[in-house]
Each structure stands twice: as structure tokens, then as C-alpha cells.
């Protein structure tokens, strides 16, 4: 699948870790490092299978986790009793500090988001009426989406049905189909998007198409309740012919005007 989706508008490795901690209801101050490493690598593998562009930071974090894990396996160093007994530092300490620090700002960002919502109801002169550039389509995190995707994928694998013509699956076409469907019926529950997809590859293509729609802000994903079903909405704000861009999906979905795309400066 030569369709690359950029993730830099989504989240980073710390988000993924916090997501896993929440998903498995772990104690952030006492993270079972083996479990979380395993889960982390599983998500990473999933992202790689989807050919999502996995940023280098994710790999660095994977290495960090493995390093911590190996350190935890080692017997505690024999501290020369004579030395000013530097208390044995938990190999996880630094990571935990980073996670807590990051979480603090995540919460702060949420508070800012609430304040922003209140302020956006107050219209004033001289203010830009709309600025779609900055809007993020996701109200659920990417990792929530990936989790839901994994569930769908599991279901899809079950009945190994008669493989007929492995027709060429095209993300570009799927984008158009998906958009048509959402135009007729919105919102759709995440799982419904895959109701007709039997094969694994089909499910993957649909998911990639969805990510692309989210990135282009033609759809948005929301989760009314924590851990509840994810709903996909057609975004009506900007009507542009999606077919044209989508058709050129062959090489890259990242080229055209991604406002948040990274570039070197």
C-alpha cells in the first residue's frame, strides 16, 4: 500500500503511553514496564502495518522502554556500603516525570480548549470569522481510533471466506466512497464503516481512507463518552471536490497543502 498518511497532526509517543495507561487502568507511578512495553510495541506494529508514517520519536521511545525494561531485570547494583548511599533510582523515574509533566500540560490544554469554546461564542469585530487552517478534526485521539480499528480488524479476520478476485484496492477510491456514504448518513458509528468489509486488506484501506478524510477535515471523529463508541461526522464547513485530490492518491496523500505538515526550516 503506497499510501502514506502523515501523523504529525496527531499525537506523539507520550500520548500513546498515557493512552495505554488509561486503557489498562495502570498506576502511572508504578507502571508495569513489561506490559506497557509490549502494548506500546503492538501499537507501533499496527501503525507500521498501516504504513502510517511513524515518526522517529516513536522509535526513540520504544528504545527507551526496552532499555528501562532491561534495567529493571538486572539485579540491583551492589552499592558499596561505604559510599554515600545514593538511593537506588527507579529506572522508570525519568519517564514517569516526563509523563506527569506532559499530562499537566495536556490538562492545561483542555482547560484552554474550554475557555476557547466559551470565547468563540462571543463575536467581535476585526476577528477572523473562520480559520479552518488550525482546526483539528479529531475529538478522539488517534490511539482511540487505532484501538477501535484493532477490534474491527479482529472481527474481520475470523471468517476466512472464499477469496475471490483480489481486486486492486485503492485508498483514493475508498475515500470517495466513504465520503459519499457520510454525505448520505452522518454521523456513522465507527464500526459501521467496516460493516461490509470482510477482508483484512479491505478494512485497512477503509481505515486509511478515514484517516485521510480526518486529515483533510472532511470528516471529524468524536467520542461522546469515554471509551464509548466513536462517531464519524461529515464536516460540512468546507465543500470542495474531494474526488480530484483523492484521485491523485497514487504516490502521496501528504503533498497538497497540509497546513500542519512538517517542513524543515
Amino acid at each position: 500500500m503506497s499510501y502514506q498518511i502523515k501523523l504529525d497532526m496527531f499525537e506523539g509517543p507520550l500520548d500513546l503511553l498515557l493512552h495505554l495507561i488509561r486503557e489498562h487502568q495502570l498506576d502511572i507511578l508504578d507502571i508495569p514496564i513489561a506490559t506497557i512495553t509490549e502494548e506500546y510495541l503492538r501499537y507501533l506494529a499496527m501503525m507500521q502495518e498501516l504504513d502510517l508514517e511513524v515518526a522517529g520519536e516513536f522509535l526513540v521511545m520504544a528504545a527507551t522502554l526496552i532499555h528501562i525494561k532491561s534495567k529493571m531485570l538486572l539485579p540491583p547494583e551492589e552499592t558499596a556500603a561505604g559510599e554515600e548511599g545514593e538511593p537506588e533510582e527507579d529506572p522508570r523515574a525519568e519517564l514517569v516525570d516526563r509523563l506527569l509533566e506532559y499530562q499537566r500540560f495536556k490538562e492545561a490544554a483542555q482547560t484552554l480548549g474550554h475557555l476557547e469554546s466559551e470565547q468563540l461564542l462571543l463575536y467581535r469585530r476585526g476577528a477572523p470569522a473562520i480559520d479552518l487552517e488550525v482546526e483539528g478534526p479529531l475529538s478522539v485521539s488517534l490511539f482511540e481510533l487505532l484501538r477501535a480499528f484493532r477490534d474491527v480488524l479482529r472481527r474481520a479476520e475470523a471468517p476466512a471466506q472464499l477469496e475471490i478476485t483480489p481486486e486492486e484496492l485503492n485508498v483514493g477510491q475508498r475515500i470517495v466512497t466513504l465520503l459519499d456514504r457520510l454525505t448520505q448518513e452522518s454521523p456513522l458509528e465507527f464500526a459501521q464503516l467496516f460493516a461490509s468489509s470482510r477482508r483484512r486488506s479491505e478494512v485497512i484501506v477503509t481505515f486509511l481512507a478515514l484517516l485521510e478524510l480526518l486529515r483533510r477535515r472532511l470528516a471529524s471523529a468524536r467520542q461522546p463518552e469515554p471509551m464509548g463508541p466513536i462517531m464519524i461526522y461529515r464536516t460540512l464547513e468546507r465543500m470542495e471536490p474531494p474526488g480530484q485530490e483523492a484521485a491523485a492518491s497514487g504516490q502521496s496523500g501528504t503533498a497538497d497543502g497540509d497546513p500542519t505538515g512538517k517542513t524543515e526550516e
Binding site: 506523539g12 484552554l112 461564542l121 469585530r125 487552517e133
Partner: protein, 221 residues
Amino acid sequence: MDHALDRQAAIEAVLFVAEEPLTLAKLQEILGDEDPAATEASVRALALTLEGPSRGLMVQEVAGGFRLATRAEAAPWIQKLQQVKPAKLSRAALETLAIIAYKQPITRAEIEAIRGVAVDGVMRTLLERGLVRMLGRKAEPGRPILYGTSGEFLEHFGFKDLGDLPTLREIDELIGAQKPEGGPPPTERPADPSGSGPEPPVTDATPEAGAPDSEPPAAPA
């Protein structure tokens, strides 16, 4: 004719035309007042007048000045006019902004160390939007640029000044409530970086409140 009413009307008109919040000093100059207290009294009187049920506007105190804004209750009608809802900042943008707001002045590398991801794209957007600005350069190898929040940032979130930022301590408590044990030691609100904001010290004596000055709008469904 009632003199006070004239002054209110003048302020209303001036605020209507102004595209940015006007400071008390500016209003004082426009009205030709000797005493800023007189100007402020008139502004407050106007604000009170506009609180009447038949008014769609209000005086909002924000970013070190005053501006006219529509009342939150009017939003559904305005949205009918504009057909779209105003866009919100993305999660990544909000996170980056939060870090900058509390940690300014801060370099890009320091932001990335906290977020754990590159912030080039987000930073560019924030700079373009004018929510973030460059404050100078840090005295260290490479002389990296230091960033801080702007007056537009204060306007966007309805803050009078940086003192209006919810304290990180409150956020710590949030974390403490979720986690079995408390978070890291509480951090003070940002050391107000010298000259980091266009906002002059607000002249009124309102104690710093955690919440913005506006009454909480009833968000329409």
C-alpha cells in the same frame, strides 16, 4: 441631556469601531478625561447598561483593554448568519500553547522536550495566527529563539492578562484526583516574564480570578 449617557454613547461608538481592545488610557485620551477613574466609571456604566435584556452586545475586559463583543446567548443567531461555527485550535496547537503560556520564555527545543514530538508545523501556525511571538534569543550556544504568548493569545482565550491563566496548581489537583497519589509538587504560575505581554498592568483592583471575566455563557447544544 444627561451628560453621563453621552459619554457612554461615545464609548460605545468608539468600541464598536475599534478592531482591538482599547486600553483605559486610550479611552481616557479619547474622552479627554483628567482622571482615569472617570473614564473607567463611564466604561463600567456602559457595561451595566448593556446588561439589559434587550441588548445583544456587551463590554468585555480582555488583553488589558475593553472591547465590544456579542453576548454568548446571541451565538446561535450569529451562527445562522455565518452558516459555520468558528474553528477551534487543534489539540496539538492547544498543547503547544499551554506549554508556551506557562513556561515562557521558552525555546522550541524545550517545548519539544515536554511534548515529545516535533512542533515545527504547529509553531508556524501559531506564529501566523499571532498567538505566539518571538521574545528574543536565549544566551546559550546556537542562540535559540525564545517564544512567548501575545496579546492576541489573551484575546483569544478572554484573559485580561497572564495572571488570568488558570494556575497549574489547579491542574495538579486534577491529576491528583485521578491518580492514586498526588502529582508532582505544585508549580507556581509563570514568572511573569519581563515585557512578555503588550498588556499594561490592569488598573482596576479586581482580584485575580481563575475564571475569565465574562459570565459563563450557556453553550447551545
